[in-house]
Amino acid sequence: MSTQVTPRTDALGSIAKTLRGGSAGASPALVWGLYAVSMAFLGLLLMIVQVDAYWLNILIMTYLFGGLAAAWNLIGGFGGQLSLGHGVYFAVGAYVVGITSTRYDWSPWLGMVLAVPIACAVAGLTSWPTFRLRGPFFAMATLALNQVALVLALYFDKVTGGPAGITMPFAPSLREAAFIERWKYGVLVLVYLMVAVALSTWMSRSRLGYALRAVRENDEAASAAGFHVFKVKMHGMLLSAGVTAVGGAIYAMYIRYIDPGSVLSLADVSVRLVLICLLGGIGTATGPVLGALLLIPAITLLQAKLSSQAPGLNLVAVGAMLVLIPLLMRRGIVGTVADLTRKATTRWSR
């Protein structure tokens, strides 16, 4: 290759690029090195925080939602398919674990394994018609799916326990995925986050990742470049739904109580995943993690501080963020930082 750039811009530029998630230009060693460093940092954070039960809980939810947001990002960010129905796959994960473990005495781990193909089947069946839709129509249809799932989960109480939900007994053992030492849940969600982010990092450099981005930007050009647009979207969606379901299963293992109002809540699941990515940077590998690190503790603290003053006040803040981020920081933290570094590096190289 005759792509010579001055070394200084190259180094600075590729780190900036890696951070912004468009890591294809950077060398694999740099990308995975950064991945290892950031995961080690998250592990260290867990070790420091685990002495405090309150903060440990917040951190566990942060990592879980970081992983879930990374999963959403696979199709929502890279593929630009704005799904507002990922709560459905999350709920499938939680319910499959809940139902199989309470009813058939399965280990939740086994339930987790079963949840993946079920979530993929649901994703495949619902995406088949909805992928014909673009932009707001797709968002509307997926939002509708979330609401239909809510109605069905409330209605079929023989299966789901209806509004009363399912309570999983807490019998501490590895088989039951029930731990008295709460830090073990911390390790579990950290591993989940690591897998989800590794997938995103791989995605940002793989054929599928490029195909999804091509589809997002211009599906006509993508098909002229030889990509089967429907298939590309479907692969992205199946991967995303599967990883989301695993997150739902982990949620069930940790919270041990599953009810439609929580797992299919728009504000607490489907929309929250979008908000995390929006804050961190949609369509980047690092965005979901950064977004979760900021948003989940903030939401939890707001809830504690504000909801004691007046109900709903904490959610007003969440809603305001959803309005303000697009207006003020459209490309999220990662995108904004990358733009600044890019400006800086181009100035340097001149």
Binding site: F137, Q147, R330
Partner: protein
């Protein structure tokens, strides 16, 4: 047969409600090309506005529209100017921002009312009218009449006035409209205003019919989405007739199967229409491919 007629009457009344909410939504949708997720919340705000004027100033609930409708028109202008217009061309961001408004409006009202549910008393709205097979309360009947009146008025506005001509030009081709000297931004602004004024009107008319809670908007908005998709993007006739179709599906599935599944059924219709005729039953083919 009596039962059938009774359910049919319920369906038509319900359809009137959905149609009324959907028409404002579809007007904004069709012209500004924005899915305003907060439309149900605009209806909700209209309901609370009517309640407030009714309780505090002692006005007749229907008279409150003199204040509520213009106020909601102004709120619509503000939303379009402050939130939607700066994000023009960024469909995803517009969508998320209107979703943010949903959360803000719902929870602001929740914080102010502290979760207490209200109801507006109107002896007129509670009075019933005997149709033989069923008694219909005037409150719902008024909605049905208003929906029809609004449909006619909107049709007239769009097809017979000079403002309507610019609306149609903008809907057809923004660039060309601009070249013709039409102020596209101003048209969008007014259309958004009219759409949310219609939501305000719906709020006033629905205040005596529904119990007021911060998330009452959700009871109409999903149905209204289904109406928009079934009826067709930007089609007034589609929204009017689509309202009845969704009302029929909900009422009949509710009566003959289970009322709790009503939403699942009309979303079934919604998905079916998307698969078979994505432009909607009354929309023009290809219009569903907007966005992207």
């Amino acid at each position: 047969m009596d039962t059938f007629m009774r359910v049919l009457i319920i369906a038509v009344l319900l359809g009137g409600i959905y149609g009324l909410v959907a028409m404002g939504l579809n007007l904004i949708f069709g012209v500004v090309r924005v899915v305003n997720f907060a439309h149900g919340e605009l209806v909700m705000l209209g309901m609370y506005g009517a309640y407030f004027l009714n309780q505090v100033l002692g006005w007749n609930v229907y008279a409150t529209m003199v204040i509520v409708v213009p106020a909601m028109f102004v709120l619509g202008l503000i939303i379009q100017r402050v939130v939607i217009q700066p994000l023009s061309g960024q469909t995803t961001m517009q969508l998320l921002a209107t979703f943010g408004l949903v959360i803000v409006f719902q929870n602001s009202v929740l914080a102010i009312t502290e979760g207490e549910a209200y109801s507006v008393s109107s002896s007129f709205a509670r009075n019933t009218f005997d149709l033989g097979v069923a008694k219909v309360d005037y409150g719902r009947l008024v909605v049905l009449v208003a929906t029809t009146a609004v449909a006619v008025a909107l049709w007239w506005l769009i097809h017979k006035t000079s403002f309507g001509r610019s609306v149609r030009a903008v809907t057809e081709d923004r660039m060309a409209a601009r070249l013709m000297g039409i102020n596209v931004e101003r048209t969008f602004l007014i259309v958004f205003g009219i759409g949310s004024a219609l939501a305000g009107l719906a709020g006033v008319l629905l205040a005596p019919v529904y119990t007021l809670t911060p998330n009452v908007g959700q009871s109409f908005i999903f149905a209204a989405f289904a109406v928009v998709v079934v009826g067709g993007l930007g089609s007034v006739t589609g929204a009017y007739l689509g309202g009845f179709l969704i009302g029929l599906v909900e009422a009949f599935s509710g009566y003959y199967i289970d009322p709790r599944l009503g939403m699942a059924f009309y979303f079934g219709v919604f998905l079916l229409v998307l698969i078979i005729r994505p432009a909607g039953l009354f929309g023009r083919a290809g219009s569903e491919e907007m966005g992207a």
